[in-house]
């Protein structure tokens, strides 16, 4: 029958008229990212970093630059290297996360942001001072210890370097059992 096709088409139109829109108005509202989201602005804990440069070695593009000098000697925690330069050129970074995967001391984490646009290219190089000052909201990517805690970088609070390691700090009772009191 002539006109039946038009009616059929219009039923689809009316069906969609009642539907809630799937799109969102971006700058006003944002889709929440998963805690595992590999985002910009790396989270770096200087206290955990030994300057071993595994991340720089494993980066497929070689965009991490690390310069260290021998730091002071600490009898309890061992000697360590002090970090002079820790530059990440996120202008060339592809956020594959291999640096985070390589870090043996849980010092480097992916960030959780995605809106770090800059006007100049040189601003995209994150210097060590900015990494030190940046808010510590690590992504749980490749860090099962954070996932087990149910940490969400978008809603959770900032984590200190003691809370992000893969090893738990032993409790006082534990220590008493294993070590004789002095």
């Amino acid at each position: 029958m002539y006109g039946l096709g038009i009616l059929q088409g219009l039923t689809v139109t009316f069906k969609n008229l009642m539907r809630k829109p799937f799109t969102i108005q971006y700058p006003e509202e944002r889709i929440p990212q998963h805690p595992r989201f590999r985002g910009e602005e790396f989270t770096w804990y200087e206290e955990r970093c030994t300057g071993c440069a595994s991340c720089a070695k494993y980066c497929p593009l070689g965009i991490i630059k690390i310069v260290t000098h021998p730091g002071k000697t600490n009898m309890q925690e061992g000697d360590y290297y002090a970090i002079d330069v820790f530059d990440i050129d996120i202008g060339r970074c592809m956020f594959c996360g291999l640096c985070v995967e390589a870090c043996p001391y849980d010092a480097l984490f992916m960030g959780s942001g995605f809106e770090e646009g800059q006007y100049r290219r040189q601003d995209l190089v994150i210097p060590v001072d900015r990494l030190r000052k940046a808010s510590k909201r690590p992504s749980t990517w490749f860090r099962p210890q954070l996932e087990d805690k149910g940490y969400n970088p978008h809603t959770g609070k900032e984590l200190s370097w003691r809370q992000v390691g893969r090893h738990q700090q032993p409790s006082q009772e534990d220590l008493k059992e294993k070590w004789a009191e002095r």
Binding site: H34, R36, R38, Y58, F95, C96, L98, S139
Partner: protein, 367 residues
């Protein structure tokens, strides 16, 4: 009195709204009929094969994401399988299931992109594209849970996958598996029986089975021509021999068949994912492989059935930490060889539609 006419050569691309990516065709028309087509490639050449020679085996995974950027998981899978073949690594069972689930989700996403853009070529502008991208978005959300990224995934590693799926992935996957058949029904209701689509696509751009086999075409285009050839059945890799599924194939090899085979493949992919979710068992997801894989001297060719056809990696190892040679057999590039055969003799409007059904991806053609 007869008018004196002469053929006109027109450039379509590299920046043209109806070509896919930076693809350029030098087309000679006689009036409105295509007389000759000459593809011009290389605008997106990044030298992925050469770059792979100076990266370690694990780092090359990130390069494979950028080959076919709407189906990164399949590229990861093909590369990782080849490295495992070369180095003799056996991934754990759970990792293989996770990889197959991811690759099949990617196949659905890729076919959704095809459906949307093909209808865009047909003149249905942005509406069907938005429908298809709505579901693709759900798949990308699943990938974000799985590996933290949406397009450039880098999910797989030689010897497994980098990390197990998070807990909230499985309920989300179940929800997707329940919703998706309804959405495919919706497309089929809108497109498959649509009179305009049928008139434009039926018996247009016919590719015979013989021609397709002779030009070493693979993937949905080959199956649409009536050849029942799917690497998942013909040369099962990973766990495809443990799941049951059918290979959809067409009869005529026209544009409509090429579309319809892809829609049916989406349904088959859903079936495969459902079976995988039932069969998967807890366990490790990554076997003990050092970051610097050092395969013994030798060579290996690994191939998978990517959404666009047979994707193969040929790696030669000289015993070092980086491949000595990496050759990529990309389906989009090989599938382009039939371009002249299926376009010549059709009109300008059909040319765009037929070209759309080859479903090329320039990232893969130029590598």
């Amino acid at each position: 009195m007869t008018l004196k006419t002469e053929p006109v050569t027109i450039n379509i691309g590299p920046q043209h709204p109806s070509t896919h990516g930076v693809f350029r065709m030098r087309v000679t028309f006689d009036g409105e009929v295509v007389v000759d087509v000459e593809p011009v490639l290389g605008y997106l050449h990044r030298g992925s094969e050469k770059l792979a020679e100076e990266r370690t085996y694990t780092q090359v995974v990130t390069l494979t994401d950028r080959l076919d950027y709407v189906a990164s998981m399949s590229n990861n899978l093909a590369y990782v399988l080849t490295v495992e073949k070369l180095a003799g690594i056996k991934p754990p069972d759970r990792a293989m299931y996770l990889r197959v689930i991811a690759a099949e989700l990617m196949r659905i996403a890729s076919h959704l992109v095809f459906t949307g853009f093909w209808l865009n070529d047909l003149g249905a502008l942005a509406t069907p594209l938005m429908y298809c991208f709505r579901e693709r978005e759900k798949i990308l959300d699943l990938f974000e849970m799985l590996c933290g990224a949406r397009i450039t995934l880098s999910y797989m590693r030689p010897g497994g996958v980098f990390q197990d799926a998070p807990e909230d992935f499985w309920p989300a996957l179940h929800r997707f598996l329940e919703e998706m058949p309804n959405y495919i029904d919706e497309y089929e209701g809108l497109i498959t029986g649509n009179e305009i689509v049928l008139v434009r696509a039926k018996n247009v751009g016919i590719l015979s089975a013989e021609k397709a086999v002779n030009s070493s075409i693979s993937g949905p285009i080959l199956r649409a021509s009536g050849v029942e050839w799917d690497l998942r059945k013909a040369d099962p890799y990973e766990i495809y021999d443990r799941v049951k599924f059918n290979i959809p194939f067409g009869g005529v090899g026209d544009n409509f068949d090429r579309y319809f085979v892809r829609v049916q493949e989406m349904r088959e992919s859903l079936k495969i994912i459902e079976q995988c979710v039932e069969q998967v068992e807890p366990g490790p997801v990554r076997s003990e492989v050092p970051f610097l894989v050092r395969p013994p001297k030798g060579e290996a060719y690994g191939r998978v059935e990517a959404p666009k056809g047979e994707l193969g990696f040929y790696l030669v190892s000289d015993g070092g930490i980086a491949p000595y040679r990496c050759k990529i057999r990309s389906p989009s590039f090989i599938n382009l060889t039939i371009l002249r055969d299926i376009l010549v003799g059709w009109k300008l409007a059909d040319m765009i539609v037929t070209f759309g059904t080859i479903d090329i991806n320039m990232g893969e053609v130029d590598r």
